[in-house]
Symmetry: C2
Subunit: 381 residues, 2 copies
């Protein structure tokens, strides 16, 4: 199995579209300072103690209302569990619901670092093809005739890395299959609120009564990754399994103090204002990347313009080897993630993922031009 | 296996010595507000982004110096991994180093909620007897002749629940056995700095070169549980195994933002001042509990006065059933943790654990009197 190095350290001068992270100007220092001050100026000592296993009830009520305003359907506090971000939540979900050797079905391509989490739990990963409407549900149904799956992992809106969104019709069918085949849908919905101009279909978190759904949400993409704060939205049955955890029973809430600060941020209206700010900023960057790709790469690459999220997925001619190309990208002061990282079958070698989240409009233009130079040099076109 | 309900919710009027948590007046709201303000007033946007897998390097340097001043031996930043508290650290360590069916050796009695974490990982738990000097190392050695252990879990200083401290001689032998039998020592050292008047022997965290040691430390007991911030101190070899984790690779540092705030608290001298304050406060409570036990229970109970930490361990006459007694404790407006919770073999029914951390001196006197009334009523003395 290819060992993938973490690509999180920016190199000065290089425009690394491999970084799926917000840029410094999008990270809300003063917002968090305000929310933090507001919390501490009213805080009682016991609020710094161990929290409820499921997470602070006031936070879960505030979060439930926030989801009502943003997802469109209010969530009951009882349906929400506080996590320390989606990576922790994925690991935790594997621990609570799987055994080594169980099968998990994932989109092909899918989020590369999720693979490592699933392998840490000894899971057998099977890929399901995707197209412009997300996971191919016919292929999923066919796979389920010969495979017993414990879980299906999906990124329904603004896919990482594909950028596409699972259609409403396919969401219905996925839920129907979950009931029929008794698997758990682990829906990674971190990009749900980062739409450019058109809302995606309702989050699977709004539909936890229609199948076995664990919807994973996070403040990493809408506030700050460093907070390590997220949530799982699910049914009472699955919640009971999550809560019966030694780690939770011993430590209390997964991230108690951060939940107080974010509760104040939401209650003060700061979180929703920040999402508005992010949507505008990301839309500008998305359009800039689409235009630059159109200008410099339309002759050689194919892509779909995403409706939101962080990512463009580029397909180069069959003979391209993007992992090889990546090794020489530094010479062109540009970076990206090779497509094969996102393949469970070490395919997709001619594809690559670009994130538009970490750079300003002008940097995106420059970076795409450099990428086009690299590709031209490598493919000799 | 007995299912143990979390006993974390205080009942008004009841003095519940079952609560192993600080009281409101010991939780540092203004300290954290000051440290938080100091961080945010100087923060750069990117400090809110994903952190280094091992944890922010500046924080690890600050923590290493702090350990030099408090443990007596400075720790290199490379030997430290940031965790989100000891419960998460224990779970993580099981995930990285064990397989279902592996054996873990624990002190009998030991921290009851650790059992649940180990069971969540399918581990086979075997108890090793303890006495006034901690784990009986002869018994450990004897067990190792017929059992292959993946890990030995120990609480070396101011044991939970026993209150005693592993002697220097036994620490040497434990490390020697770790080398001989190639098991990992998981040392839960959360009470190390909460000594009453005499320093315990050096933490096992200072001796990671002498055996396979994972020393677990936490800010829960010396600052605030709600922070969910701790650390693992270990050798380069074991660190490499910890870092090769999907969850870390995906999410970055386990608790990045909290580590910034605590870095400022340490650098401003606030953390060490707070430890001084806690040591004084807990010493008063410890003495109050010892005196009250002497006054009300010396005729029927036996205990060792602990040298620090949170806990007294009481032994009642053989026929006592403390779990049964606990059911009627509410009538006396008092609470405790029955001894059998801390036994891996459902023994120790005539023992109980009292925490002196959550109540003031006067409340401790009143609570112990109530406990004596309960015991007298139950045992008909």
């Amino acid at each position: 199995m290819t060992k993938i190095a973490f690509d999180g350290v920016p190199v000065a001068g290089t425009i690394n579209f491999g970084l799926g992270q917000p840029s410094a100007d999008l990270l809300p220092v003063s917002l968090l300072q305000t929310a933090s001050d507001d919390f501490y100026s009213k805080a009682a000592g016991l609020e710094l103690n161990y929290g409820e296993l499921q997470g602070d009830e006031r936070f879960r009520e505030t979060l439930g209302s926030f989801l009502g305003r943003t997802y469109g359907v209010p969530a009951h506090a009882n349906s929400l569990l506080v996590t320390s971000g989606n990576s922790q939540a994925m690991d935790f979900v594997c621990e609570r619901f799987t055994h080594p050797g169980d099968t998990i079905l994932v989109e092909e391509p899918s989020y590369f670092l999720a693979f490592q989490i699933f392998r840490d739990h000894g899971l057998n990963i099977v890929g399901i093809p995707t197209d412009a409407d997300g996971m191919d549900i016919d292929a999923l149904e066919e796979t389920l005739t010969r495979t017993t799956a414990a879980m299906v992992y999906t990124i329904p809106s603004f896919h990482n890395p594909g950028g596409q969104t699972l259609s409403a019709r396919r969401r219905d069918r996925l839920l129907e299959l979950s009931r029929q085949h008794d698997f758990i849908i682990v829906a990674d919905e971190v990009y749900q609120l980062l739409y450019a101009d058109q809302l995606p279909p309702p989050a699977l978190g709004c539909r936890t009564c229609e199948g076995k759904v664990l919807s994973l949400g996070s403040f990493s993409k809408i506030l700050a990754p460093g907070l390590r704060l997220g949530w799982i939205q699910t049914s009472a049955d699955l919640m009971a399994v999550l809560l019966d955890s030694g780690q939770l029973n011993s430590g209390g809430s997964f991230n108690h103090l951060a939940s107080h600060v974010v509760r104040h941020a939401i209650d003060m209206g700061l979180q929703e204002a920040h999402i508005g700010f992010l949507r505008t900023a990301y839309q500008v960057r998305l359009e800039a990347m689409d235009a630059a790709l159109g200008k410099h790469l339309s002759n050689i690459a194919r892509w779909r313009k995403p409706g939101g999220g962080y990512f463009f997925w580029l397909e180069l001619p069959e003979m391209a080897d993007c992992a090889e190309m990546r090794k020489r990208a530094g010479d062109f002061e540009v970076g990206f993630q090779p497509g094969e990282y996102f393949s469970n079958e070490e395919k997709l070698k001619n594809c690559l993922r670009l994130s538009f989240a970490h750079y300003r409009e002008d940097e995106i233009k420059t970076g795409v031009r450099r990428l086009a130079d690299l590709i031209a040099t490598e493919l000799g076109s």
